[in-house]
Each structure stands twice: as C-alpha cells, then as structure tokens.
C-alpha cells in the first residue's frame, strides 16, 4: 500500500541537555535533513515511560526515536542507562506484538554533535521508510 508520496510519521523523544542541544546545533550549522521527524522535549531520557512509546505506536506512528546523552554524560548521572535498559524491554515487547523492532531506535547524541544528529535523522527516516507504513495504522480511522 506504500504509494510514491507516502511519508513516514516518526516521533522523537529527546533529552533537553544533549540531544535537543545537538539538534539545535545542527540548525546553527544549517545541516539539512528530511523533515519527517517531530521532536518532543523531556528533561532526561530517564523520563521516557514505555507507555509513551506503546502509545505512539498505538496511534499509528511508523517509527519512534529516543535520543539522550552518551553514557557517562547524563546531566542526571544515569537517566540514559535506565532508559536504555527499558528500551531493550520495549523492543522485545514490540517483537511479541509483531512489530519490527527496528521501528524503535535509541541513539546517543551529545550537545556538540550537530552533524551526528543530521546523520541520525537521515538514517532513521531511511530505515522507517524502507519498513513502510506501520501495520497498526490500518486499524485506527
């Protein structure tokens, strides 16, 4: 059902101190990337409740990105560890309900890695586009 002009709907939940700053830096450096991702800012990826991710997929998101600080750099010491651990859990959960776990992605982008943020965007959009629309999309509406 993938038609030519289908564009993936991807939601990114990113931490205020590293990834959000990195994304801003990418802007400052005018690094161009596809506009298919919408970011929601939280103070720390530790805040990311598995519920949010399941909610997003339930709502028909084609992909979810969670991005925080590098290990050891977390502004709150260890929020990103805690989040990463949960992501493994969520990934298995996704597999169990028959969703490709490549639709969920966790990355680590520091405040100085604008270029990396650009690459992450490119890559996430590419991956999700290849996977096609989320099977859950059909059911809602």
């Amino acid at each position: 059902m993938t038609d030519e002009n289908w564009k993936p709907k991807i939601i990114a939940i990113i931490c205020n101190w590293c990834s959000y700053a990195g994304a801003d830096l990418a802007g400052g450096a005018r690094i161009q990337y596809p506009p298919d991702v919408r970011a929601i800012r939280v103070m720390c990826t530790g805040r990311v409740d598995p519920l949010f991710i399941m909610k997003a997929f339930q709502d028909g998101a084609d992909g979810v990105l969670v991005s925080g600080c590098h290990f050891g750099d977390c502004h709150y010491l260890e929020g990103n560890y805690k989040c990463a651990k949960r992501m493994f859990l969520v990934k298995t959960l996704l597999k169990n309900i028959g969703l490709d776990d490549k639709r969920l992605r966790m990355t680590f982008v520091s405040a100085s890695e604008g270029a990396k943020w650009g690459m992450v965007m490119e890559d996430v959009v590419k991956t999700v586009t290849e996977l096609g629309p989320s099977p859950l999309k059909k059911y809602e509406r």
Binding site: K9, I11, I13, N16, W17, C18, Y20, A21, A23, D24, A26, G27, G28, R30, I31, Q32, Y33, P34, P35, D36, R38, A39, I40, R41, V42, M43, C44, G46, R47, V48, D49, L51, F52, K55, A56, D59, G60, A61, C69, G72, D73, H75, Y76, L77, E78, G79, K82, C83, R86, S110, A111, S112, E113, G118, E140
Partner: protein, 673 residues
Amino acid sequence: MAETKEEPRIGVFICHCGTNIAGSLSIEDVKEYAETLDGVVVADEYQYMCSTPGQTKIIDAIKEHNLNGIVVAACSPRLHEPTFRTATEEGGLNKFRFEMANIRDQNSWVHMHDWDGATDKAKDQVRIAVAKARMLEDLEPKSVPVEHSALVLGGGVGGMQAALDLAGAGIKTYLIEKSPSIGGRMSQLDKTFPTLDCSQCILTPKMVDVGRHPNIELYTYTEVENVEGYIGNFTITLRKKARGVLDPTEAAARGFVGGGCNGCGDCSEVCPVIKPNSFEMGMAPRKAIYIYHPQVMPLQYTIDFDSCVKCGLCVEACGEKKAIDLEAVDTFEQVRVGTCILAIGYDYIPIEEKREWGYKQFDNVITGLEFERLICASGPTGGHLIRPSDGQTPMKVGFVLCAGSRDNTGGVNKPYCSRFCCMYSLKHAHQIMEKIPGAVPYIFYMDIRSFGKMYEEFYYRIQNEGAKFIRGRVANILEDPTTKNLMVYTEDTLLGRPVAMEMDMVVLAAAVQPKPEAEKIRQMFGVSKSQDGWLLEAHPKLNPCGTTTAGIYLAGVCQGPKDIPDTVAQAEGAASAASIPIHTGEVQLEPYFAQCVEEICAGCGMCVNQCPYGALALVEKNGRTVMEVTEAKCKGCGTCGGFCPGGAIRMQHFTSPQICAQIDAFLLEGGEQ
C-alpha cells in the same frame, strides 16, 4: 484526572525571525492553521517576537483575550524560553503557562530547500505545542539558598585570577591544584609575548597574593574525588594526596609547635634518590623529596612516594622541625560551595607520534616548552640555549609551526588551531637573536596568526629583527648521523621551490590537547565536551564562561585553546558569573519536581532505587505505605516517573497526560495531508 479546570484559551504567536524562518516556510499558512486548532483563541505573527514590540503583542493579547496559555513558535527554548516566560508573567499569567515550538533551529534552518515539508512540520510542531499548552498549570519556582563560597579547580594563571577575583569580592574560595605548587604552565615560561615581560616576574606576585589572601584556602597536591549537589549547594570531596611533609599548621596540630616545613631544603640535599624534574621537562634532576623551583607557592617540600626509598635521611636532616612523615597517607576532606569554576588547563600532544619530525629520534629536535626552559635564566642551563646532542650553541634554529595543529590525519587528528604557537614561536625567534649574536631563526609556517592586540606589530618587529619566514609546512626532518645537524625538508610555497635546509636545532610548536583527566572531571561536574574534547561552554558567543550545568563555569584553555590574556579575561568573566548567585544569596530552581499521587501509589518502592539523588523514600501515611519526595533533593529528571508501574508519579511540567497529549496531537489530529 483533569490537568486544568478552566476552558483552555490559547494564544499562538509565530516569529519570522527576519527571514530565518519566514524564508523557508509559510508563516501565513501556519498562522491560519493555528487559528483552526481546538482551544486557540488568537494567532498572530511578527518579524521578531523576542523584540519589545513582539513581547508587547503577547502581553496585550493575554489581557485582551484573557488567555491562559501561550505558545510561541520561534527559535529554541534553550535560547528564548526565559524571555517569553517573562513576557507571559508580565501579561499577568503564571510563567509556566508558556510553551515553545522550535520552528527555527529544528525546522527552517534544517529544511531550507523543502518549503512544503517545512511548513507541514511547523504546523505539527504548533499543534503539539498547543496540545501541551492546553494542559499547562500554574507552578511556583522553588528558590534555594546559596552557599557563600566557591571552588576553583586548577591553580594555573586562569584559576589563580578567578580565585583572586572571587576572594576579592568577599567570597570564601577554595583553590584546588593537583601538583605541589600553583603557577601552572605560565610558571614554566621564560618571557611572554608580545610585551616580552618575564613570566615569573608577573606571575610570582600573583602566586604570593593567592597564598596570603584571607579568603582563599589553598589546596595543593589535591584532587577532586567526588561532586554532589546542585547550584548553591555543592558538596565536593577532596583527596589530599600524601605529601609526606607537614606545613607549620599541620605540624602544630600534631603538637610540634614552631615545627613544619619552612622550605630550607636540608632534606633534599641529603636525599639519595634522583629523578627527572617534570617542571624542567625532565632536563634537570630533582630528588625524591623536592620542590619544582625556588618560587613555588606554597614553599613546602613534597615526597614522591613512588621513588622514595624511605631511608629516613631527610627525617634526620629536618630534625626538630619534625616536618617529614614518611608514613603519610591520602586524606579526604569535604567542602560545601555555591558555585565552581573549572580551570584545568591543557597538555601537549605526544608529538613523537609524528614520526616524520623525529622528536625523540633526533637529539636536537625539541618542543616549544623545552625551549622555554632552555632559554629561561632559572632553567637547567641558566638561560644558555644549547644543543642537547653536544652542548654547542645553535646558530641556525628552525621553528616548525602547526606541529600537529590543523592536522586531520588519524593518530594526531587535531583539526583545530592551537592559537598561541605562532606568537610564542615569534617570541622564541626574538630571544635567539637577542641572546646569540649572529644566530638566525627560520620559521616554517602555513599562516602567521597574530590576531591579538599588538600582535601583528610584534610580527613586524621580529621580521625586522631578521627572522627568516618560509611559507611551507615541514614535510620531514632528517639527522646527519655524524654532525647531528638536522635537514629540514619543505617547499617554499611562495617561491614554488623545494627547501632542504641544514639546521643546528629544530623547535616543534606542538599542538595542545585536553588533559587526560579532563574526561573524569567533566563527568563528575556534569559538563559536556566539544567534539575535539575541550569542555563545552553554554553558548559559544553569548555564554562562553557558563556550562549547561547551573553553577559550573569554565576558565582558560580547558574550554578551548587561548593565550594568557584571553585566559585571564575569561577567568575574570567566570569569576563574575560565579559570584552572581552567591551575592544574590538564592537561586530559583525550575519546579519540575516529582510528586506522588498517593491515591494511586501502591508503595511498591521500585522508584526509590531509580532516583540517582536518593530523593524518594517510602513512608507510612494514614495506614498506607506510599512514596514521598524530598523536593530539595529532586532535580526533576523524571526517571522515577518514567518507571512507576502504576503511573502514580506526576512530573510537574512533564506529566504523562501532557506528553501523551503531545503524542496524540501529532499522530491523531489531522496530520495526514
């Protein structure tokens, strides 16, 4: 449970930011779209929302339409959230009734060639922001008292300046230095460019001031072990490394009144162990019990326990002063401070890894810092510049600039400019011509970067004094096996001719790099790093001294290569920035605290271990076990909220309903074109 009682009345304001936003997406479309959104009663746009007229629009609209939620679609909240919160407040709303949509840094600037894509994204971003704004609620920022003391890490010229300024402003200041003496790199230098005044002469008075300032507590031979707390209330654990030598107070504390080290040096004379003196770049010896040089501050000897054989001769020599304790061990001490300044300095790259220049392969290839010691009157040769190979005076000296700087090759990979090598090499050239009649310096350069006050004039002067400038990066250096002279190969790119010059000595202006321990330190203090490893400032232009961690400030080369004037300037900037919260006496913390919804809390206690700050605890409340938050300890990361199985934890300003509303707003409402 409902986040807000009253009907949402949202105002949306879209910023053109000149053409920064308006040039890449349709403000008009976004505005029209915003008007259609549920709860939006007014939508407006303006050239520069952050300008006074722009802010007035918000203030007026709040009154006119009696709004209870504000959305500004403009740049990044990390830049202007405070601005618009103030405006919201001036309009008579609680300042947390404000939400920002980042349609510049994360939209117009990164999708410059995709008008429709950018416009659609902007609409979504506004919709998401409105969804959150609908659920925002009044919050009261929490203000905490600030300790009337500061900590400065690093006793180089930057750290000393910062400490003196803070202390001068009446703030109790702890100055922490890892080596036995303050002074840092600058104390190793002979003269300073462009004024050529003697480094020691201008530095030593500062060191003395630091030593005797009543508000400065000096900790030399000390490292930071652990950092806890937040702005206003840092608790920092210091490791005082075993020095083996007591100062008079320590001695008195042990009952040897009138004892303790007075720097006489009798101990060092009798010490049988000889080691290279790192202060002299290993070109002079020191004993196992030593001071770097006579002007050290404090004037107190130190035992290098790695090489000490504990023969006890020094103890006898010290006699009644009883200053030496061969059984000394590391001790720990805690200090409480309101703010911290990091001035941890830099290292030189291991230039021997650039094999083509032969450092550590050929005797007469030295580094700039070694040159400083060799030319310095108080240095190992008493200021006589000699060739390490044969002690002869060099008459032709080559200077290799950008030795490792501006170099993208693997291994070295220092793409940045080290910023002071050009100038100190010019200074070296001058010193040679001044001290050795007839000696000719040859400066091999790519560009001479003499950007500072009176720097270009200095360049002019050195050229006029007869230094030879050859515009070509040195390809390789070979040693004549018999004479130990050096053949320097490059191209004179201005003549377009290959160069093969025989030099008596070559000085490499090695690139600088962050200290190895910088990584550990920045993680303890929660400071990010730039891509090349230097500590990351809060904003490269508008906040060069601050960091993203409130209460931590940067000074000197640890933030990026800079020369002495810039270091001192930044140190004073950092000191003033660090003194503001202290003088204000209190700081306002954003009230993003966790709250326990006791009706739902099952008291399972799983959140308690999640909290990195131990802010959560289980308590008995009317017969039930529930979790309780100690707000003073909570920093609002939300890790507990992200984990609570029952959803019983409300993270203020980032509540689950708010975030879910944002998700729904993006995915369910409209969205599909």
